[in-house]
């Protein structure tokens, strides 16, 4: 059961005046992630929107220690923190790596797979804004089909989004979960749970990006909810291989009232050149994934 808002840690680790864009999905979600992680935490982050959020030398908007690392090295940097802390008998500190989809799905996947296979005791968070947003909206392997980006500027992205969560599941991790900034209690609970578990924990957050996706900043939460209502993004967790829906996705699975994906896509400028064929392909792709999740939930 989700905790209620009054039980959330009152401390603020994200200070006022950060450099994230207005309506940034990452900044809302990150605030609750840090509240759940609390003080005894060291962060490591690669080049990404989060680098910008953390601020420019010599000031920072985040009140937890953070080691900036190179783009491809995030999970290796976390491995080094864990090893160094263990060597110094500080193994009680939680090491958390936070990367965008570029730093997770693409350039960071090798180090992440290595760290996960070694069972490194850390939390890896991917905030997925579905493209290289920090450099101004280029295509990544997390970009959905039909999206315009500055490197797919005319014909839109032709391939479906990579199923990163499935790749992480193949590493037999003790805990995998998806979270959304529109459901901070679900997010908070999952991070509180993740912090208690040993081994590699992988959490992926949907991070709607107003300038990159083409929607008004005020609609960020609304759009995050629509992603879930349509099944474009699904809230779930996998504990030692056991799949379960959570939060709003659980309700949807039980009551079976998913909205068509067009309700989500039509609110975003990035899909304005999408073909009808692509639209039906995405609907089929979402239905296929959803049915797979439902089957898994039923077999548990």
């Amino acid at each position: 059961m989700p905790e209620n808002l009054f039980k959330v840690n009152k401390e603020e680790y994200m200070l006022p005046g950060n450099r994230a864009c207005q309506g940034c999905g990452l900044s809302l979600g990150y605030r609750y992630i840090l509240k759940a992680l609390r003080e005894n935490t060291i962060l490591t982050i690669p080049a990404s929107c989060l680098t910008v959020l953390h601020g420019l030398y010599p000031t920072t908007s985040v009140a937890l220690p953070c080691l900036n690392c190179t783009f491809a090295s995030t999970a290796a940097s976390a491995s080094g923190l864990v090893a160094g802390l263990n060597a110094l008998n500080r193994g009680d500190i939680t090491v958390v790596a936070v990367a965008g989809d570029g730093g997770t799905y693409d350039i960071g996947i090798q180090a992440l797979s290595g760290a996960a296979e070694r069972g490194t005791d850390f939390i890896f968070v991917c905030y997925d804004n579905e493209g290289y947003m920090n450099t101004g909206t280029q295509r990544s392997s997390a970009t959905p089909m039909g999206a315009l980006t500055t490197t797919t500027p005319i014909h839109t992205k032709q391939q479906n989004k990579k199923d990163m969560l499935k790749i992480m599941e193949a590493h037999d991790l003790p805990y995998i979960a998806t979270v959304s900034p529109a459901y901070p209690m679900d997010l908070y609970d999952k991070f509180v749970k993740a912090k208690r578990i040993k081994g590699t924990r992988y959490l992926q957050m949907s991070a709607p990006c107003p300038p990159g996706w083409g929607f008004p900043p005020k609609d960020m939460v609304k759009l995050s909810r629509l992603a879930i209502e349509t099944g474009m993004f699904v809230l779930y967790e996998v504990e030692n291989g056991r799949f379960s829906f959570t939060g709003r996705s659980k309700t949807l699975a039980e009551k079976g009232k998913r909205l068509p994906v067009i309700n989500y896509l039509e609110r975003q400028g990035r899909f304005r050149k999408m073909s009808l064929e692509q639209l039906s392909q995405i609907q089929r792709w979402v239905d296929g994934k959803w049915n797979e999740y439902v089957r898994r939930a039923e077999t548990n």
């Binding site: 060291i42 420019l56 920072t60 080691l67 190179t70 290796a76 491995s79 090893a83 802390l85 500190i93």
Partner: protein, 406 residues
């Protein structure tokens, strides 16, 4: 008590690393460095060495692990060769830019394409501008001793140190090596105290985006911009030469072995001709000099131990009376000449040193370098100088340029 054993270069390096109480090791196997990672794994799994070994999936990750481990205050070690070092390139800059005292062994090997597993120094020379200290060893005793010195140097000047030694020529060749006793090493090398420890007790954002201009912190104190940070690394590297020499002298007093600090000399007192190089090729040159002396040629060797920071003052002094200089090196800066040769010429600029300087590129991709051949090429170049050619094109030693295939 110290003890003497017959060790390969890689074994000597492993013994040195153990004596330094390294706390985190992360490395990825590559020929000819591989056996060093195996010796350390053995030492850690058997409980002989208390350290964390992170068995990473790449060299890029290996150095990333060392950077993060060093940032929380652990003494970190890695080793690699050739393509492994090139794959670390980005992280080499990051480690030096972070001013972390990481020590790495670079077991020198040629670089592809085409593949070569054999020795030259193209790998480390091509990383000279990454902000690391580079020290080249001439034998296995120097490897173990330099490793022990390297942590002391790195932690004093807050700059990472690359201990370079020739693949196979040293890494896989056995020699008698005196292993110092642990108490003497402990007295020489105090435990590592990081300059900035990343910890929850004192939250900081390490290495964020830093602007070209200076910016004020929350108390209004102006802090360095990017360019000031670069200037500090450069001046620290320049000043590191004195520290390296001082650490070498202290080591000599405590352990009874002096490897020369920045450079070493062999029969240079009355030498007209000076052969110079780094690593095992300089050792080979000492035998060439013995042969040349028997033939009545007053030759000597200046071996460079430290390549970065470049020991400008020391080389000016060492070459002051030279009447001819032969720079023998296992690298090439494509489109120009050997990198050491260029650096030496630049160091001599504006001084009284006007000796002709000839460059001999040798031993690329493991091509054997014999003392006899070094003596022969020295005589040929001296003949050219006598015939009025002050500077010739770079000589490619023992390279069949006359029968190249189309």
């Amino acid at each position: 008590m110290s003890r003497t054993e017959i060790l390969t270069g890689n074994q000597a390096a492993a013994e040195g690393a153990k004596l330094c109480h390294i706390q985190v090791v992360s490395a990825y196997p590559i020929t000819p460095q591989t056996s060093l990672t195996e010796y350390l794994s053995q030492a850690i799994e058997s409980g002989q060495l208390k350290a964390e070994y992170v068995r990473v999936e790449s060299e890029h990750s290996a150095l990333s692990v060392c950077i993060a481990a060093s940032s929380v205050g652990a003494r970190a070690f890695t080793s690699t060769s050739s393509h492994g070092l090139l794959y670390m390139h980005e992280q080499l800059h990051w480690a030096a830019g972070s001013r972390l005292p990481i020590v790495m062994c670079c077991v020198n090997r040629g670089v592809g394409a085409p593949w070569s597993i054999f020795n030259d120094q193209q790998d480390s020379i091509s990383q000279r501008d990454t902000g690391w200290i580079q020290i080249y060893c001439r034998d296995n005793q120097e490897i173990i001793d330099t490793l022990i010195q390297a942590y002391r140097i790195a932690e004093l000047v807050k700059i990472p140190v690359m201990v370079c030694y020739d693949g196979f020529v040293l890494s896989h060749t056995m020699m008698p090596v005196e292993i110092p006793d642990a108490e003497t090493v402990d007295a020489f090398l105090p435990p590592y105290h990081a300059h900035t420890i990343l910890s929850p007790e004192d939250p900081r954002n390490i290495n964020p985006v830093t602007f070209p201009w200076r910016r004020a912190d929350q108390d209004g104190v102006m802090c360095d911009g990017y360019m000031e940070l670069r200037y500090k690394l450069q001046t620290a590297l320049e000043a590191a030469g004195e520290t390296i020499a001082a650490v070498g002298r202290d080591f000599a007093e405590r352990f009874g072995r002096d490897h020369g600090g920045l450079l070493w000399r062999y029969r240079t007192e009355d030498a007209d001709v000076i052969l110079t190089g780094m690593g095992s090729i300089a050792t080979e040159a000492t035998m060439a000099v013995d042969a040349l002396r028997e033939q009545g040629i007053a030759a000597g060797v200046v071996g460079l131990r430290v390549y970065r920071p470049f020991p400008k003052a020391a080389v000016r002094e060492a070459f002051r009376d030279a009447r001819a200089v032969l720079v023998m090196e296992k690298d090439i800066s494509y489109g120009y000449e050997g990198a050491l040769c260029s650096d030496l010429k630049a160091a001599f600029y504006g001084t009284e040193i006007s000796a002709p300087i000839h460059n001999v590129v040798a031993g690329l991709g493991g091509r054997d370098v014999k003392a006899r051949e070094l003596a022969e090429v020295t005589r040929e170049i001296l003949d050219r100088i006598a015939a009025g050619q002050p500077e010739g094109p770079t000589t490619w030693l023992n390279c069949r340029t006359d029968t190249l295939t189309e």
